[in-house]
């Protein structure tokens, strides 16, 4: 039962991480109209950042780590996927160049 709850919190951590990242990206996404839309951007960051903080604070000590692992783990995965995709595609490009 303990592990099921931890797994649930880990999944919540992943989901919240996705939303926090999306909220942060929204600065770039709405930069072209940030003059008018900044309250919306700020609301998103505060809401999802606040949610992350709230869950981290409210979770039991033993399960907080699971949530934080989900939260941080996804952020790392997001960066790794970006770098790996780049490396894979550029690797294919270099391989074609080697065929010259």
């Amino acid at each position: 039962m303990v592990s099921l709850a931890s797994a649930g919190l880990f999944a919540i951590g992943v989901y919240v991480s996705i939303r926090v990242l999306a909220a942060l990206y929204r600065i770039a996404d709405l930069w072209y109209r940030i003059g008018t839309d900044w309250p919306r951007v700020a609301r998103g960051i505060v809401a999802w950042g606040g949610a992350a903080l709230a869950v981290a604070l409210l979770a039991e000590d033993g399960r907080r780590a699971a949530f934080l692992c989900g939260l941080a783990g996804y952020a790392v995965l997001h960066v790794v996927l970006y770098v790996a995709t780049r490396a894979y595609v550029l690797g294919r490009l270099r391989a074609r160049r080697r065929d010259l």
Binding site: L21, A22, W31, Y32, T85, R86, V89, R96, D99, L100
Partner: protein, 869 residues
């Protein structure tokens, strides 16, 4: 040594070993009175003597010994091209050439063509591995003969011989030197239909200038189908012939392909009497050789000339089928069904993951990569049908539990991979991708970014922190989330309102404002209305060819407002084109005449008048469907307390509708990125043309990206790529004549159904609900075929945004390849018009003029009455 040079008329079928197959056939025809241009043959004996004099034997023997064949071939070609021909041979060739010119003046140019000496070699030559040179004058004659001989050692020819067990040391080549016919019109004729195999038809293709443009697929020719009995013309199609290969240019001139004057582009190249002449001579060739023939011919100053006759090898030949199980990649195929050029395929494969492969110019998906991710006990046939049609053929097959963990892991990974992108897309304003245009301009302006890098930058390799609006391809992929929302919506409606009409879910997903393809149609309608307001403009559009009309309007003061609006239209939609997933397709901003052609069709159909009833109909149909759903849900428990079910239905419908809109709109933008790649390719091509490393416009599209880079870097030259380009153009033209199979290595049930009699109705998928009865009009090219009359049923092979104006006029649409998410489906839903997609072979089975009943809800189109007359 035998005779080094023979007059063409002295070559007979018995001389194949000396004169080669081509010369022997031409000689046989010439001696029997066929109008073959005069010429002579430099024999294979002369070739052998030349090779002996150069002491090539050790190098040739080395080809079979392994090592680096490319280096050995290059060395062989260099020695042949730079070798000196013996004095007697030079004398014999120049004497024969002088007698050829005698009486014709010094300005006569020759064609120098390889003539292989063995049957296997002849086939190799047909595949374009051996050299052919046009516009050759006395100065370049000897050089070009040596080039022909050197082409025996092109890497492709050597590889072909190695594969077929032909001894390299045994080969030699004769060369035919013929007077070039200054052709006004030329073309090819097939004494049997090369596509259908019918022996009762003769197919003639013709265009202005030299026939090379047709053979290489550079132009769309006029096409005539003639009955073998009586030689009556059964079918004729006049194409817009934008380019021609000149037959009268200075030898050595860099550019041979020129634009056809506007007033001749849509003029028929052959009168009925000419068609008959071509057919008669072609049949005589067939009778002479005793087998269906592929005849190259030309008219010069009204005289018919026979340039070549050879058997039609494709008639009984099985196309090479790749090993494995492949399914046509529908997201590309539903945008256009023609084969892609090699460069387009090469670049498109860069961002695609493993498991995709180009076969006969079309993109296919390897089923072996998909199968492990499908947790069902399903046959290859059913899996292919489900993937192609979007749903299983007959109910849901049983689960395969052992596969579930892998599938769940793959789904979880997919969710994690696109999770942030999907979350970022939510609730963004409609204009969030507009900034992509500025990114395209920046990439376009950066000379350090080549075509491949531009494609990757604009499609899948964003900067670390890039607005989601700059990633339209990722938005496009993420909007596949439409499918689960549509599934949930359909499930809720089935469960809570089972009595509702079956297309209710589709109607709830239609009528969304801001779909850019639909807005383009509205902009065109406004443009047509503007044209109608200025009578001079309307008259020019109606009476002149598109390009000529545009040129006329530039000088017409009353057209100023229309032209300003046209410029404004092009500023937004100028990156679009017919066949826009093909890099070779000119974009509207390059060729605004294409927009004029669409507008002209629009004006002819009189659709520019009045408001826009089609879009209003779509919104009204959605509102009606919403009312119907609310009424159906009302008796349900607790529904009176704020309508919880209705809220859920509306939420799912809104989500599905938003994702659908995102999918179509993101395509508008990633096609813009593809347009930038085209501009990059054109810039590279222009450099190579200036440097003389390419000779013809559009040749770049028949090379691979690495070959273009090698040309730029000087690692390859024109001589290295000329044969490749020719071979690929020939192949492209052949592929274009073959309908793309939906699968390789799998027999689909759908294919079997398609063979059913059209009397039972042709089945397809409903992409936009409704029913309509009207006259069918088959349109293969929206810029060329006759305009659609209001209310007619558009029958098309596929559609893309260039077809949108026709949707404003049509009463219903029937499309060969498509899906619910395809352009045809999305735009038809926005215009509230019934649309049936995936109707196999509909452009062939439904004749223009037939009265058809399109029952999109039932997924069937029936021919009610055949065409009159």
């Amino acid at each position: 040594m035998g005779r080094p040079v023979l007059p063409l008329t002295d070559a007979t079928i018995a001389d194949v070993a000396v004169a080669g197959g081509k010369a022997a056939h031409l000689g046989a025809l010439a001696t029997r009175g066929f109008p073959v241009p005069p010429g002579f043959v430099v024999t294979a004996d002369a070739c052998r003597d030349f090779f002996d004099a150069l002491a090539l034997a050790p190098l040739i023997a080395g080809l079979a010994a392994g090592g680096d064949p490319a280096a050995r071939c290059a060395e062989l070609r260099r020695r042949i091209v730079e070798g000196r021909l013996g004095g007697p041979l030079v004398h014999a060739i120049l004497e024969a050439h002088a007698s050829l010119l005698r009486g014709n003046g010094d300005g006569v140019l020759c064609a120098v063509r390889s003539s292989a000496t063995a049957e296997d070699m002849e086939r190799a030559s047909f595949a374009g591995q051996h050299g052919t040179y046009y516009y050759v004058d006395a100065v370049r004659l000897l050089e070009m003969i040596r080039h022909c001989w050197a082409s025996l050692f092109s890497l492709e020819a050597v590889s072909y011989r190695s594969t077929h067990g032909i001894d390299h040391a045994s080969v030699a080549m004769a060369v035919v030197v013929q007077e070039m016919v200054p052709s006004d019109v030329s073309g090819v004729a097939f004494t049997a239909n090369p596509v259908t195999g019918s022996r009762s038809e003769i197919v003639i293709e013709s265009s202005w200038g030299m026939g090379a443009a047709i053979v290489d697929g550079r132009v769309t020719p006029d096409r005539y189908v003639v009955a073998r009995d009586g030689l009556a013309i059964r079918e004729q199609r006049t194409a817009e012939k934008r380019f021609m290969v000149l037959s009268r240019v200075e030898a050595g001139a860099g550019h041979r392909l020129v634009e056809v004057p506007h007033d001749r582009r849509r003029v028929q190249t052959l009168a009925a009497a000419d068609v008959r002449t071509v057919a008669e001579w072609s049949l005589r060739c067939e009778k002479h050789f005793g087998a269906p023939q592929d005849v190259e011919w030309a008219f010069a100053d009204g005289r018919f000339h026979l340039l070549q006759s050879r058997p039609i090898t494709t008639l009984d030949r099985d196309e090479r089928v790749p090993e494995g199980r492949y399914l046509l990649f529908k997201p590309l195929a539903e945008n256009f069904t023609d084969p892609l050029t090699p460069l387009t395929i090469d670049l498109l494969l860069l961002p695609l993951p493993l498991g995709y492969r180009a076969i006969r110019g079309r993109m296919y998906m390897n089923l072996d990569y998909v199968r492990p991710l499908v947790p069902l006990r399903i046959s290859d046939e059913d899996l292919a049908a489900a993937l192609y049609l979007g749903s299983p053929a007959e109910g849901l097959p049983p689960l395969a539990p052992l596969k579930l963990p892998v599938v769940l892991a793959a789904l979880a990974f997919a969710y994690l991979a696109v999770g942030v992108a999907r979350a970022r897309m939510r609730g963004l304003p409609d204009d969030f991708m507009d900034g992509y245009r500025a990114l395209c301009r920046r990439v376009e302006a950066d000379p350090a970014i080549g075509p491949a890098e531009a494609l990757l930058r604009l499609w899948i390799l964003p900067a670390p922190i890039e607005p989601i609006g700059n990633l339209p391809l990722i938005v496009n992929g993420s909007s596949l989330a439409f499918a689960p929302w549509f599934g949930v919506l359909s499930w809720m409606l089935r469960r809570w309102a089972p009595g509702l009409r079956p297309d209710a879910a589709s109607l709830l997903c239609a009528g969304s404002p801001g779909v850019l393809s639909a807005e383009m149609g509205r902009s065109l309608r406004d443009l047509a209305a503007e044209a109608r307001r200025a009578p001079d403009v309307a008259a020019a559009l109606a009476e002149q060819g598109p390009a000529h009309a545009l040129a006329m309007l530039q000088d017409e003061p009353s057209a100023a407002l229309f032209l300003a609006r046209l410029d404004a239209f092009l500023a937004i939609h100028g990156h679009r084109a017919v066949k826009e997933f093909e890099l070779q397709s000119a974009r509207w901003e390059e060729d605004p005449a294409a927009v004029i052609a669409l507008l002209r069709n629009y004006l002819a159909a009189d659709a520019g008048r009045g408001p826009a009833p089609a879009e209003e109909k779509s919104v009204r149909a959605r509102k009606d469907a919403e009312d119907e759903v609310r009424r159906a849900l009302a008796p349900r428990p607790l529904e009176k307390l704020g309508g919880p079910r209705w809220r859920l239905v509306r939420f799912a419908a809104t989500r599905a509708r938003d994702y659908l809109k995102l999918r179509e709109n993101s395509r508008f933008f990633h096609i813009m990125g593809f347009g930038v790649v085209r501009k990059k390719v054109l810039a590279v091509e222009a450099d190579l043309l200036r440097a003389g490393r390419l000779k013809c416009k559009d040749d770049a599209f028949f090379l691979l990206w690495s070959e273009l880079e090698a040309l730029r870097g000087g690692h390859l030259g024109w001589a290295d790529v000329e044969d490749r380009i020719r071979e690929r153009r020939l192949e492209q033209a052949r592929f274009a004549r073959l309908p793309p199979p939906k699968t390789f290595g799998i027999a689909t049930r759908r294919a079997a159904e398609a063979d059913g009699a059209p009397g039972d109705g042709l089945r397809g998928q409903c992409a936009s609900p409704g029913r309509h009865r009207g006259i069918a009009r088959v349109i293969l090219d929206p810029t060329q075929d006759a305009p659609l009359e209001p209310g007619e049923v558009l029958v098309a092979p596929y559609t893309d945004p260039a077809w949108t104006p026709l949707f404003l006029v049509a009463g219903a649409t029937v499309v060969e390849v498509g899906s619910y998410l395809s352009h045809a489906g999305t735009v038809a839903r926005e215009f509230g018009m019934p649309c049936l997609v995936d109707v196999a072979d509909c452009t062939r089975l439904i004749p223009t003029g037939a009265m058809v009943d399109v029952d999109a809800d039932g997924g069937v189109v029936r021919i009610v009455e055949p065409p009159r007359g």
